[in-house]
Symmetry: D2
């Protein structure tokens, strides 16, 4: 007989816009939520007994119902509320995970002043959170996705291994572009998440900008280290920094030099570097 050695289910891409209406102005939040539950569901797999299955359609309804009386701010708080709801009301569920991505909007400015009820989508980067755990222990992570940064100076890549398949030239001065996904883990669940998120983001971008980079790995580690140094509330950070390569164009056939000025950005293939840094 086969054994079920792991399983998980839930609802993904639950999209939500919430308008909080004040006298004379509105606040706007846009989220996308994923819900995953782990628990004692084996009878469903083996015999089709659904008596322990909370339908994923109900998970979706729950998000909308709980959003009615929440201002979804911060998203970490709403994720915690959702996770507690599913754990408190479903004894068959052992663990859960709530992921929320916030789509950024800013007010349209009219003659320099922010409009009370009209908004413009920002991006491409999004704010994220993942809240996961059991009745015993819940942990909160937050992060940023699709943060695209590029340095035009202070980036080198030299001294690497050369084998018979190596054609890459040593580069004292190259473009360093990357689309960053970062996720940091908080030491607690009751923290000023909005302020912390902004400080973490500022630390990551400022460190990327100011670092004298000898490789992607080198800069990634410094970014993680600085985040841990400046934010006592963070105890671990994961960074994925895929290259967005910009290749120097060879213009010599046309009688032109190209002193690090004209590049072709290419999407693939791309270098992929990921690491986890902790205290």
């Amino acid at each position: 007989m086969s054994s079920l050695i792991a399983n998980r289910y839930g609802k993904r891409d639950i999209r939500l816009v919430k308008v909080v209406r004040h006298d004379g102005s509105c606040d706007l939040k846009q989220l996308t939520a994923n819900i995953f539950l782990v628990g004692d569901f084996e009878s469903c797999y083996r015999t089709g007994d659904n008596s322990r299955i909370l339908p994923t359609d109900t998970m979706k309804n729950t998000v909308y119902a709980l959003a009615r009386n929440s201002d979804l701010d911060p998203i970490e708080g709403f994720a915690l509320e959702l996770l507690h709801h599913f754990l408190d009301n479903n004894p068959q569920v052992e663990k859960g995970r709530i992921e929320i991505t916030e789509t950024p909007w800013d007010r349209i400015r009219v003659d320099g002043r922010p409009h009370p009820a009209a908004f413009q989508r920002q991006g491409p980067e999004t704010r994220t959170t993942a809240v996961a755990g059991s009745r015993e222990k819940i942990s909160v992570s937050s992060g940023v996705d699709r943060l695209v940064l590029l340095k035009t100076a202070d980036s080198a890549f030299t001294g690497f291994i050369r084998d018979r398949f190596t054609t890459l030239a040593e580069a004292d001065d190259r473009l360093l572009g990357t689309e960053i996904r970062a996720e940091w883990h908080y030491a607690g669940c009751d923290l000023p998440f909005n302020d912390l998120w902004q400080r973490a983001l500022d630390t990551l971008t400022a460190t990327f900008a100011g670092h004298h980079s000898l490789s992607v790995q080198h800069t990634l580690f410094e970014m993680g280290q600085q985040a841990l140094r400046r934010l006592a509330e963070i105890d671990e950070i994961y960074l994925a920094m895929p290259n967005q390569h910009c290749l120097l164009v060879d213009l010599s056939s046309f009688g032109l030099d190209n002193p690090n000025q004209v590049f072709v950005p290419v999407d693939e293939p791309y270098g992929f570097i990921e690491a986890r840094v902790a205290r």
Copy 2:
């Protein structure tokens, strides 16, 4: 015998990053260019005679070579330079069209100050231009793509036709979201394009924000009209305003009201409205 009644060819998605290096700082421009040529190419189609065909690979090389000595600023100027190049050097070409999309970047701020050589991708909206014409006459259009705006007040849709397939309720107060593509045509080729683009964009967003909207069409027309009113250099504007629908969630089954607060954004199907407004 079959007849060739229209044909066009070129190179698309030519991607380019240009770093202009100053003492102590860099400027960064990222573009994607499309090139289309129309002319006397019939012998190529009929007999495979390529003697009048400028390879699309050469078009790509030309973009990189001309970019070497251009600062690509404004993109309208670079598009004009490219079009003139192809018309001047290729007698078999009758007409051409150059489309350029600029990917927006801003400097990373470190302690509030813009960094001289580190950048962050902005978006999602992009600046665009299309320069088209012949040796006799060239016209310049510019625009914006993927400009996502949303109003949470001052938008209604009532008084429409009701037939036996109508279920939509009249709405005095709905969300109005749209991903705008705009393209406006300039009366000349030698204009302060950067300044005009910013003023056109500000006019479109401010009009969207301030308009008491009775329909998408109503707001689209007002946006076009205001652009023509405020910018004498524009003689025509095209606007495509597909809805980004936000559907009010029915929470009544859960004993909750929903006074225009919780919405589901949906990607499809979507209303699509496009129009061209001229003086």
Copy 3:
């Protein structure tokens, strides 16, 4: 005062799955429809008077309601039914256009026999139709989209213009890959569309395979010409054949030759060739 010089509106991406149930088996059709209407809508743009506006939500409902009693086979027939519905019931509408894309499914085979009620998605190519016109005249076009073909022999590109920006080598034997969009126009509205579509598709693919290609243009024209020659019901055909370039990898640094064997497919930039061929 500004003038409204063109306008069009409708609903896009109306998605539909229809299951036609027989004794012991099912037929499955999946479509995506776009609807565009042109007419006398100026008062809506100028004053927000919606009294001539059929809501796009109603267009969507109409598709589902009419699908109830149609087997959607062929899609050209369903598109005609939709267009007639909108023209017959909306005097303010002058012209309409219905576009339908069919997503292909095939039956799952179990021990070699097609299953009566289980299906597998095919692709990537899709069958398309566009039916457009007014109360006086309606025309039917059909086509194929995302048809990806590649020849590994019998494709050359030589004898083209060389200028100072040309680096491309003459190629007697290259890979020719392309993602084809074709749209052909029928001489009538009451034709055996399923049979014609299959014959057109077979003609296009067989001509591509068998042609001794001297350029994309050369092969495109032969494909159009053969379609017109073999299908008397077609009077015009549009073909867009963007290159899917496969670049020969230079392995000489590794002491290896590469006699047209190892290639890198690249998405961009890409050559784009389009033409319209008629009798």
Copy 4:
């Protein structure tokens, strides 16, 4: 001081087309490869010492160079060759992982006969493999991605939990659509991978078709169980079966019934079910 608690790097989306040329005919293979290495790279992160770093550009070159003398058939064999290459030549590397996705092509048929040198892209499903391990132990998995299946009969979902947020109706007869990702692990490294892959695929699709489904979980488990039962060479299988929901359209407002015939396919939100089944 911060500690580096995990790290991995490599090259992703290395795309490759290989033409194997015989007398009078060609074989075509298209692959995309990802390479990941784990090892002793800490000095690179901490000090920018790249002396243990094999550049990701060299990984890409290696794929093309090794492809020159391989027919890439089966992809599992080529992945093994790549992994052995990196482990054998890089003492600083402890573990590696090679992922390959094969894009399916079939010969164009001309008058019913397969053409020797012209091909048509198939899909949407792709064949995948992942080969991972160290000098001591390597394991081979293979799978399928984007396999889209849909049942129009024999699928129910009843007897699930109902709470105050449940609105879903019990369904004795619903559409069951899913885009499957499957990955199965082989007990060995030297197996007839092409034959096994086809048998695994046939088992998965036939089981999906024939199963009387009481839930996605129920059918997923049966699919995994049958794969283990029929293929002795497989010792574990992972299946992810996100729903492709088809919602029954309510036509009652239009005086029409809808006996499980007209559906709207929706992309999001979607139920997500994943599990791992072993002997």
